[in-house]
Chain length 246, copies 2
DNA sequence: GTTGGAACTTAACATATGTTAGTGGCCGGA
DNA sequence: TCCGGCCACTAACATATGTTAAGTTCCAAC
């Protein structure tokens, strides 16, 4: 059976574990998705503090997890298609962050009672779902390291390298870059700096021939420089796909 | 049965879920611990990249999770007694960070095959273990927010407030502070700054009457100021215990 | 095409933080 | 007892980043 038979979870399968699952299990995973929604304008899908009874899987586009604090937004995670965005909501129930769409997105919703049933009856899938939340935490740790260690240009380089790699896992990376609908303000929110300073950094990386970010498109000019500047080692992503940046 | 019957997991039970478990389940949890070790000097217990077949629970003292990068150490998480330090190692197997002891610590080891058995047969405990790793991720997210949003004094204030709260959950917080064996260098490593600058910040917080950190002892001088400065809202800890700082 | 707003860009200045260098105190080992 | 090393602390200077205030480009709605 081809992956096209699983329109909602296709990217998830590409990213992690296509070969580890039987077709029956893939079908069960696909069956988690209850309904699908598309948002074309920026939209806050879930709010911090919400009590949730379903989790969301990103099918297409980009979403961010955001913590608002006195008027400023701080991006604590970015997601690519195939990611379970708030699977942790299944156990924690109350969200500690907002979930917002960036650009045009398509999202699937998985009711918690369906997840519950899978957990009880499908040990392989249960393990995989847990695994998926642990990978999330590993990325968080790398972001912490990035924020503690790197200055603004390094942070941007790291962000670009990570997104490129993660998009590559789900077959969405181009040969020399990828499409990224983030504004400079949003890049700044993800790197813990201001849009003015992010503008300086974007300009600098462009002029030094590292990476060009403009009009929603990332073009990597020198992947070695990019990796060095971002102190990027993809090991924490635990990926099984081809490691384009390695 | 009193909690003293569970010497290894007593703090874990105090922190989260004492009432949610039957005595039988508490016994099973306690039985996860295979052997116990004590380290009196600073010691690297596990290394990044290690393939692990057991997970560690902190019984007494402080441990840090550390990512080394060109000679510098970056603390990505700190743990208090009762924490499962690397439960994620059960699923991920390969560690993406070191685990190091700070001061004198006592640590229990839980072989993965025992955890596996619990997961297969004890849904309540399985859920609780998953929950525990998700809480870990929630703290990571808060650290990301803290690093993105706060300057060095705010970061230190946040760190102190968080540790005080978490120690309170496990009955280890004092009325006006707590014992903390971190050096200024280590505080700097956890706040993404240098020891020199951390020294400035420690001095400033002491002089402005927020908190006094000296000789391994944290004395909170003004908890309202501390919370404000650190933008600290304990909601993300999802705690059930008394919220001393609220 | 015009208009309005959002995104991008730049400049000048203030501040936080990093860097390098060095001091003195404390404590444990020889 | 002395010694050596780690830790706390300070100073002077360099740099990265934040802040405020503009101007410009781009694009979409009308």
């Amino acid at each position: 059976m081809t992956d096209e038979a699983f329109p909602y979870t296709r990217r998830f399968l590409q990213g992690r574990s296509r070969d580890a699952l039987s077709d029956r299990e893939k079908g069960l995973l696909e069956g988690l998705v209850d309904k699908v929604e598309r948002f074309t304008a920026p939209h806050t899908i879930l709010n911090r503090g919400d009590v949730v009874d379903q989790s969301t899987i990103l099918i297409e586009g980009t979403v961010a997890r955001v913590i608002h604090e006195d008027g400023k937004r701080h991006i604590v995670a970015l997601h690519v298609p195939g990611d379970f965005v708030d699977l942790h909501g299944f156990a924690l129930k109350r969200l500690d962050h907002d979930v917002v769409s960036i650009g045009s997105v398509q999202i699937g919703f998985a009711p918690h009672d369906r997840i519950q049933k899978i957990l009880e009856t499908e040990p392989t899938l249960a393990r995989m779902l847990w695994y998926s939340t642990l990978l999330d935490a590993a990325m968080h740790r790398e972001w912490i390291m990035k924020l503690e260690r790197l200055s603004a240009d390094g942070r941007l380089a790291h962000l670009v390298a990570e997104l490129w790699q993660r998009l590559d896992f789900v077959d969405l990376a181009g040969e020399n870059g990828f499409s990224l609908p983030l504004t400079q303000q949003e890049l700044a929110d993800a790197c813990g700096t201001t849009s003015i300073h992010m503008n300086r950094v974007v300009k600098k990386l462009r002029e030094t021939g590292v990476v060009d970010i403009s009009r929603g498109q990332v073009t990597v000019l020198d992947k070695t420089l990019l990796k060095e500047l971002g102190a990027f080692d993809p090991a924490y992503l635990y990926g099984r796909g081809p490691l384009k940046l390695t």
